[in-house]
Point group: C2
Chain length 405, copies 2
């Protein structure tokens, strides 16, 4: 269950309706912290929370672990691996998947962060690269094993780059005395001329300076066009010998969007009416990353806050329909955006104000703890952060599987 | 690294020797708590601790992530996937693997708990079984999905049975209101006429009564002879329809024991001299589960305390050899044994005294926290225990992969 769906469910609970939550995972995943699992800062369990643990307290709500394959909009049924689920109202919020824009060699040779398993796989890959670097006699290959190329200068790319270089300098430098970890490279490749494009100019400048001061190599106006297991090729033909390529340069609507027979927008998103229904089907809602809706001339971003507000809106809209009353159109209230770069360093723009550095970092930290679901999860995450802050230790540097690409 | 090896390393650290730790995992695994990971009580990361995090503080010690394939005892080299490692002294403590005693159908259709991944796989399997039971229309199949057969009445079998029935009755009963979870069955099958055979009679009686009062079905003098994906067959032909079979009825020395060319003892264990070396090779030590040594007429058990004491002994023995002094023969000091059955219920025999119930449970809890490596791990584990104790909640009921058998 994503950010949108669980909020719809919460609004609908205890209102005398029969609510079925269908998902292929039995947990809600707090995606914004996946990068910290990938950089050995958090255990994967601390950013996931059982849907049944929530649904217990939501009367009238049932959970079904299943893979949704399609929807019959005429007979009003959801088609799943475990049979059909009839519906009166349908809320689709299956989120997004990584968009490689047709670059097959990149897709084959890169890592992304959308699912819980992705984070564990990437952590194992990063740590295994250092283990292999220890034993590698050839200096060029040793360097390549310690070179990490990150594509995409949005929040995920920036946060991952910062967390990774800190992992190397603060933690792995002590773990691997036999390696010159200062020779490790973290290269952030961004196609436009700016990082965190949606942020004000001052925030972007701070981010760029801060990352460079942490010795992240930021390449602006650069694109990755090809990749192999040990190299990344840029648009100008330059080759970076690198054992790890991380792709966060784009997302597109989850494949299930294909079942909705309307002309899709960029990234496969579904254009929705102002009440988040699809044309001709006032009983079908699309929310979150899958929904395409313009507000003041531009499309709403594919972010958790949008999904959460849409989820709450749809819950209320369904209740209104049941009462035969009407709902005003959906309006996204932008409370701001933020990204953390490193220890004591973040950017946050909220309530018309810009925060940078320590203050922004603190705001980021508190808001993430607040939105994380599960009280025990909050404690474990906070514990990990305190540990890192005081001792420069990330405890979860375990290689738990060896299924890396 | 196991219980023995890390203790040898700790003794040898900072003594001017060059110590190489070779392991295929980069962590020390606290195996005695694997069953709590499998029953959704602990996150896997909290019972594992990075070897490099420890080796950092052990001067002269290096870690190598590798698969050991053999040993050349003549040229004194360890043969690994990543090349040869020459040695002056060699300490082999590769532990044990599950012994299915040639029962191929059982091996194919059962779960065991030796590695970290086993625990996650088993947890996913148990939780998925309940999800499938929700959707299963046939009552017999529904019951089989909620039936768990555990083979082996040693500490692992007893602890797993208790933790599993509590998971079902205290936690899953609330998660799955659509299921009659009181119909779930946990069947413990033991080949002899007693549980926890190494314990005094009073402790065994308490354990049996306690488990039965928790509605674990304990079958004594019973053996599993065959198994399929949905059934378990006993020695008398009785068939238990069960979706999950857990095997803890035996262990044998790790496969690497085969490289040592001496007649092995039962379970493939290597007979060692009184100083834990192998005959003819005073520079090669075998410790832990792999070592076969009799004391007062019976073989030392394959347990963590034996491995720990052997590990410390070998560290001291190597230092003595370097000083050309001699070491008295190894003697295992039996500090007792214990097993936890459920909340407030355990048995512990130590220092000539027998504890049962709450006191034993408290002793068990404190000793496990003490032996767990990593301060942060202790806090996270304690947090989980407190949570369970107060709220009857096990937070890690996530289905993280779907690779179950």
């Amino acid at each position: 269950m994503g950010f949108g769906g669980i909020r719809t469910a919460r609004v609908l609970a205890g209102k005398g309706l029969d609510v079925i939550l269908a998902d292929r995972n039995n947990y809600h995943l707090f995606q914004p912290l996946l990068y910290q699992v990938a950089t050995a800062g958090l255990e994967q369990e601390s950013i996931a929370h059982s849907v049944r643990a929530m649904a217990r307290n939501w009367s009238g709500t049932r959970f079904q672990l299943t893979e949704v394959n399609g929807v019959d909009f005429v007979s009003r049924e959801v088609l799943t691996d475990t049979g059909c689920i009839p519906y009166d109202y349908l809320v689709i919020g299956a989120g997004s998947v990584t968009n490689f824009f047709g670059l097959e060699s990149v897709e084959r040779n890169s890592f992304d962060l959308k699912e819980l398993a992705d984070a564990e796989t990437l952590r194992n890959h990063i740590l295994t690269a250092f283990e292999r670097a220890v034993l590698e006699p050839d200096p060029a290959r040793k360097r390549a094993l310690m070179t990490f190329v990150i594509v995409g200068g949005g929040p995920t790319g920036v946060e991952f780059a910062g967390a990774l270089i800190e992992l190397v300098h603060f933690v792995l430098a002590k773990d691997y005395p036999e390696l010159s970890t200062h020779a490790a490279r973290v290269v952030l490749v961004e196609a436009t001329d700016k990082l965190l494009a949606s942020m004000p100019a001052k925030q972007r400048t701070y981010t760029l300076k801060k990352l460079r001061s942490m010795s992240v190599e930021v390449l602006l106006n650069a694109r990755v066009v090809d990749a192999g297991p040990e190299r990344v090729t840029l648009h100008d033909g330059a080759i970076i010998p690198a054992h790890t390529l991380f792709w966060s340069a784009g997302v597109k609507a989850a494949p299930i969007a294909a079942v909705i027979d309307v002309p899709h927008r960029a990234g496969g998103r579904i254009p929705v009416e102002s009440d988040l229904t699809i044309p001709g089907h006032p009983e079908v809602f699309v929310i979150g990353d899958m929904a395409y809706l313009e507000q003041e001339g531009s499309a709403l971003p594919m972010t958790a806050p949008v999904a959460m507000q849409m989820g709450i809106y749809v819950g209320k809209a369904i209740l209104a329909k049941e009462r035969n009353s009407s709902t005003p159109p959906f309006r996204y209230c932008d409370k701001g955006s933020m990204a953390t770069i490193g220890k004591n360093a973040a950017v946050a723009s909220a309530f018309g104000m810009d925060f940078r550095g320590y203050m922004a970092w603190l705001v980021w930290l508190l808001l993430h703890l607040y939105y994380l679901i599960g009280f025990r999860n909050r404690i474990v995450v906070m514990l990990n952060w305190v540990w890192y802050y005081w001792f420069h230790e990330r405890q979860v540097r375990l290689i738990t599987r060896r299924d890396g690409k």
